[in-house]
């Protein structure tokens, strides 16, 4: 189903990823920012309140996977972002590298365009970091 791309945990814990997530938390309305691996495991997280990381990690991967599959059925082949709009806010998820995902949770007062823009700016930075962290 998937090839193994384990994170070099020592290198990846060096704080650079956490710094990026903290930066994203600075955007208005963002209440959690997380990196999820291809098994749905949350490798890094910054959050305002308690979250069941096991459940959210798996859900983020499942929702993104299902949305990308649905997109394929209508001839869309490169899914860059999945946005889940809820009464209380949004969940946005974006692929990083080798099955890893960046997920953001926002409150209702977040400006979606701003969050999307920042997310898109962040992905290339994360991709570059991950290319160092992934042990091939």
């Amino acid at each position: 189903m998937s090839n193994i791309h384990p994170l070099d945990t020592r290198k990846s814990q060096s704080g650079e990823i956490d710094a990026i997530l903290r930066n994203l938390m600075g955007i208005q309305g963002v209440s959690a920012a997380a990196i999820v691996d291809n098994d749905g495991f949350v490798t890094h997280i910054q959050r305002d309140s308690e979250i069941n990381t096991d459940a959210i990690g798996a859900s983020v991967q499942v929702v993104f996977g299902a949305a990308a599959r649905a997109a394929q059925h209508v001839g869309h082949h490169a899914t860059n972002m999945v946005i889940c709009e809820n009464a209380e806010g949004f969940i946005l998820s974006t692929p990083v590298e080798a099955g890893f995902m960046l997920a953001l949770v926002t409150q209702r007062d977040a400006l979606l365009g701003r969050v999307r823009f920042e997310l898109k700016e962040t992905i290339p930075v994360l991709k570059k970091l991950f290319s160092h962290y992934l042990t091939h």
Partner: protein, 182 residues
């Protein structure tokens, strides 16, 4: 407070886990056929229903679902094994080995336990999911990895990440699961 109603799957899950915990393998409504099933039927459920079919719908989300499912079973098994053992790791592992043998999941053998480094490696010999499967390109026992992760997580009460690093279906003769305590 609104009462949370269990879904039918949750009701069935409870009965199945209760059956495992009771250690009673006999089962009603199977007077002729009994409690055992051919391993290929289990593999059809695991690799088709919870494998390629899930992958058809969820794409890259499939391994997460499978891992999460295995972890749920591992957490339940862990709770069962952790009862009345006074946090003794050796007794815990012994009970898990016995349970995995009774359920025919596989023969669990601790390969490396380095608590200082926060790493445990457990072999699953004769793994039920991938026995008789060959020529895959990567380890395919995400369910067992999740299960072992759940078992270790219960004992240490820590976040863990379990990864299958060797797989019988890759030609490794055993499945090796590495668990990192986070």
């Amino acid at each position: 407070m609104p009462q949370i109603q269990k879904t039918d799957y949750q009701i069935a899950q409870q009965q199945i886990l209760d059956g495992i915990i009771s250690g009673e393998f006999d089962i009603e409504n199977r007077r002729d056929l009994g409690p055992m099933i051919p391993i290929r039927l289990f593999q059809a459920l695991r690799m088709v229903a919870l494998g390629s079919n899930v992958e058809d719908i969820l794409g890259q989300g499939a391994p997460s679902l499978v891992y999460h499912s295995g972890q749920s079973l591992g957490l339940a098994m862990g709770q069962l094994a952790a009862a009345n053992i006074d946090k003794d790791l050796e007794t815990y592992v012994g009970k898990i080995k016995l349970l995995c043998r009774q359920l025919s999941i596989g023969l669990v053998v601790p390969d490396r336990v380095d608590l200082n480094a926060g790493v445990l490696e457990l072999r699953v010999d004769e793994c039920v999911s991938c026995a008789g499967i060959h020529n895959v390109s990567a380890p395919i026992c995400h369910f067992e990895a999740g299960m072992v992760g759940g078992i270790v997580k219960t004992f240490f009460n820590r976040n863990v990440k379990a990864t299958e690093t060797k797989c019988n279906a890759l030609g490794d003769k055993t499945c090796l699961i590495r668990v990192d305590l986070i």
